[in-house]
């Protein structure tokens, strides 16, 4: 075999290169000074870089190519996910411009790590080989381990970082071991070759191979926060700086789902009967446990953490269904989920102050009377998470549950919708505090900085657009999964 890398290959990865270059530029800039101004400048570089990358991504939309000797691939599926990541990067950067100043995280490296995390995510969803997936996963994870612990004075932040690192390393080991077992059984780590291998006539799934698949599910299951690999989620989400929580809750989940989908729908689809049962059980556990534990949460960040676990469960429903065309529902749901969650976490940030996070649900009491705009936007995000039309969350659930019904997974769908009715209770509880209760203490002035308001408005506009006119995005998602 001859290995040749032509210069043309690099044209395809310009979006990744732009992100990396900006990350390095920020690193250089932040060497010189440490003040607020420099951090803001780093944020601006990050914003420009992510917008440029977004433009590059849009220009290669719809194209496909195998590059770097088949290790890496450019296709609408990967591009769709990359667009999600870059949108997340843009929104989180805008929030951070204000949030880092408030929390005194005056480090340019903050933005470097944000961008490197996104780089890892991009690599993960575009890999055609287990080894590149693994590299992407590690780049992403390492950046996030550090980001979680950036508030060095906060015990919770450091604890979150350590916990995430230890458990994450453990999960990565599982993933790696799974890859090794699959390699042992088949002799390849290339997804296309693997697909050829398992589709071949004489193929019989050996215990080693099935064990490998199981370990892959453990590894990915950890990153998407599915039950029983979810233990880290509430603590890490609560401890991490809130902007990073928003980044993790959306970005990591989307990236892990992207790689998960690509591996299981390209390489391992012929074995769907073997893995769908396992995922069925995980999906049910994830939805039920996530929603039930969320019922008793009093801290909003923890509540959103459990809700994000539950949403991983809904996403797994479409995954289990195994319908190639309808796997686009995962993509659609992820983009909707991104806007709902970033919006909700922005509101959480908005109500906090330095040293006074105001994350308890009680501190939302009477919000509607004091700050009708914040209360209304929070209601929109929460109702979208509940799945109430005409918000995009409804269309996402609509799409996911229809895929389950189409594949005749009736019980899965019934458990799913009933648990989403349970979820309505805890989302409404926040609404109830905001609208029905009187405040227990004075909330004080809220910093309605444009950085937050812009993100909130973008999220609301996106949710309304995708809820009322979902067609365009649906079709894009459908186009993306044509590769399967």
């Amino acid at each position: 075999m001859e290995f040749m890398v032509s210069a043309e290959n690099f044209w395809w990865i310009v979006p990744e290169i732009v992100v990396t270059a900006c990350a390095l530029l920020v690193l250089i800039v932040s060497v010189f000074d440490k003040g607020e101004r420099v951090t803001t400048a780093c944020g601006a570089i990050c914003l420009v870089g992510s917008l440029t990358s977004l433009l590059c991504l849009l220009s290669i939309w719809g194209e496909s190519a195998d590059v770097f000797n088949g290790l890496y691939t450019i296709d609408p599926f990967g591009t769709f996910f990359k667009i999600i990541f870059v949108i997340i990067l843009v929104l989180v950067t805008i929030i951070s411009l204000r949030y880092t100043a408030r929390e005194e995280i005056l480090l340019g490296e903050y933005y470097t790590l944000l961008m490197l995390g996104v780089l890892g995510m991009m690599v993960m969803v575009s890999s055609n080989s287990f080894i590149t997936i693994f590299i992407g996963l590690e780049v992403m994870s390492l950046a996030i381990y550090v980001l979680c612990g950036l508030m060095r004075d906060s015990v919770k932040s450091v604890e979150a970082s350590l916990k995430y690192f230890l458990l994450g390393a453990f999960a990565t080991a599982f993933l790696l071991y799974g890859i090794a077992m699959i390699f042992a059984a088949t002799g390849t780590i290339d997804l296309k070759e693997l697909n050829v291998f398992v589709s071949s006539r004489g193929f019989a799934a050996t215990p080693v191979f099935l064990g490998g698949i199981a370990l892959l599910i453990v590894g990915f299951g950890f990153k998407i926060a599915s039950v029983p690999f979810h233990m880290w989620t509430p603590d890490v989400y609560e401890g991490a700086p809130t902007s990073i929580t928003a980044y993790m809750a959306t970005g990591v989940k989307a990236a892990a789902f992207g790689a998960f989908l690509r591996v299981f729908y390209t390489a391992l689809l012929p074995l769907i009967s073997d893995w769908s049962m396992m995922l069925w059980v995980i999906a049910v556990l994830t939805m039920v446990v996530g929603n039930v534990i969320a019922l008793v949460q009093t801290n909003l960040k923890r509540l959103l953490a459990y809700s994000s676990i539950a949403h991983a469960g809904y996403l797994l429903i479409a995954f289990v269904a195994g319908d190639k065309a309808l796997s686009s529902s995962v993509l659609f749901y992820l983009i909707v989920y991104t806007f709902m969650n970033i919006g909700a976490f922005t509101v959480v940030i908005l109500l906090g102050r330095k040293g006074e996070p105001n994350e308890e649900i009680e501190s939302y009491a009477g919000l509607a009377a004091r700050h009708p705009f914040i209360a209304l936007s929070m209601s929109i995000f929460l109702l979208s998470l509940t799945g109430i039309p005409p918000l995009a969350g409804f269309m996402g659930k609509f799409y996911i549950f229809s895929s389950a019904i189409k594949a005749h997974y009736y019980w899965l769908a019934v458990i799913g919708v009933l648990s989403s009715a349970v979820a309505a209770y805890y989302y409404l509880r926040v609404l109830m505090y905001m609208y029905f209760k009187e405040p227990e203490r004075e909330l004080g002035a809220v910093d309605l900085s444009p950085a937050y308001v812009i993100v909130i408005l973008i999220s609301i506009a996106a949710l309304l657009y995708m809820g009322i006119l979902p067609r365009e995005v649906f079709l894009l998602a459908q186009q993306s999964v044509c590769i399967f």
């Binding site: 109430i388 409804f394 019904i405 019934v414 919708v417 009715a421 209770y425 609208y435 067609r471």
Partner: protein, 539 residues
Amino acid sequence: MGQCSFPILSVLVFVPLLGAVTLLFVRREHESYIKGFTLVFSIIEFAISLPLYFYFDEKTTAMQFVEKLPWFPEWGISYYLGIDGISLLLVLLTTFLTILCVLCSWKAIETRVKEYYVTFLVLETAMIGTLCALDLVLFYVFWELMLIPMYLLIGVWGGPRRIYAAIKFFLFTMVGSVLMLLAIFALYFHYFKTAGVYTFDVLELYKAQVPIGLQYWLFAAFALSFAIKVPMFPVHTWLPDAHTEAPTAGSVILAGVLLKMGTYGFLRFAIPLFPAAAFAAVPLMSILALIGIIYGAIVSMMQPDLKRLIAFSSVSHLGYVMLGMFAFNMQGVEGSIYQMLNHGISTGGLFLIVGMIYERRHTRMIADFGGLSTPMPIFAAFFMIVTLSSLALPGTNGFVGEFLILLGAFRANKLFGILGTTGVVLGAVYMFWMFQRVMFGEVTKEANKKLVDLGKREVLILCSVVFFIILMGVYPKMFFKKMDSSVEGFLKFVKERNAQYLALEGAPSPVAPVKVAPVKVALDTGLETALDKLKNPEK
């Protein structure tokens, strides 16, 4: 004429929303301006809905004022509105009651006035949308959209236990409707499998051939969702709480329109989509309806709280609606639709009356009143008329509806008819007893002696209620002529379809029992083929 190029239904659906959005930009200090604005908007809305009545072609069974635009053509989702004789009157009821609700909230709502009227207008959009939607997705969107404003109305402007009531209301309805969503999907994919087209168009889906086994499940899911909304016994428990805690206008709109969404859902969706299952469910639904009638009436008798009493009487009245509907004959179904309107007017009227007295005394306990007819003679007269209408005195609207329902029920099943009639007696008992305890006798409480009689606004509200009570009681033809052909068409359709299904299923016919067997297999009744084999072991 029936068809007109002007998109009147869209205008009806979105005018309140436009009003709500406009109100958002009004400063909250201008309370009287906000109230006046909402009143004008609701009157305009009613004025727009009136031409529906006059231009409605009563000879055809087809949908009228139809508007259809593609929304998501690849999936067969369209923006599809239209009404027939069944929904026409409910739309008019909605626009009419909204005016009354705005008027009766004039003084009762003192906090967050702007938000209150915004919520109310959004609710109106959702209600009219639900009644006009002919696409299952569009219907579902409006159906779920009704939840939020109602949740807020109860939760923000309600009584002391409002939070409990609001959440209970929301969760009950939500559980029902999510299961319905799954049933909608199942029907949708099934239709695709048989017809090769993806569509959520209800009129298309009416033609679907659904195997009996599947039909039972789907009907059950739809019926559960609608039964919770109606509410039928035993899923009625959210209603007394919601009614008791809601502000007056909330109770009026809840009783007047929201409960009708359940019964309307049965007529428009559950029954015609799954006729065989609906016919098979007749005994079950009728018995539950009867339990509702009698149980609601008995519990009503024992209520110390006026609003709770009326809430349980709603359970009883809605039992009649369901009983008539599942009689599946002309009298029953027409009576049932008429009773929906009656209940909206009479029970709405009762809630308005309780609201007026609550504004004066800040209590709803029957024990706190007594002898009110002395200080409030005008009030007493109105209260009497509405009470009589609620217990179905001839000459009022209630009589026409209940009479037809009982006639229909009697024709369908004598026992059901007889049992249903006992509800009329019980109805008289609880209503009269309540009226006697509140209005007659000596004025025992000091606070009641100084009560002020009704003001002009209140007289105006009650006059319009009484006007309809009497109009619908003495000249029902005005309303029946609009629904006759639609109901006839509905009955003809469901009966034909049911007969078709029965033929397919192979009702035991003595002529050729063997030939039926293969069809049975196809219809997924494996048990019967097994029995067949047992009977003829040599085969």
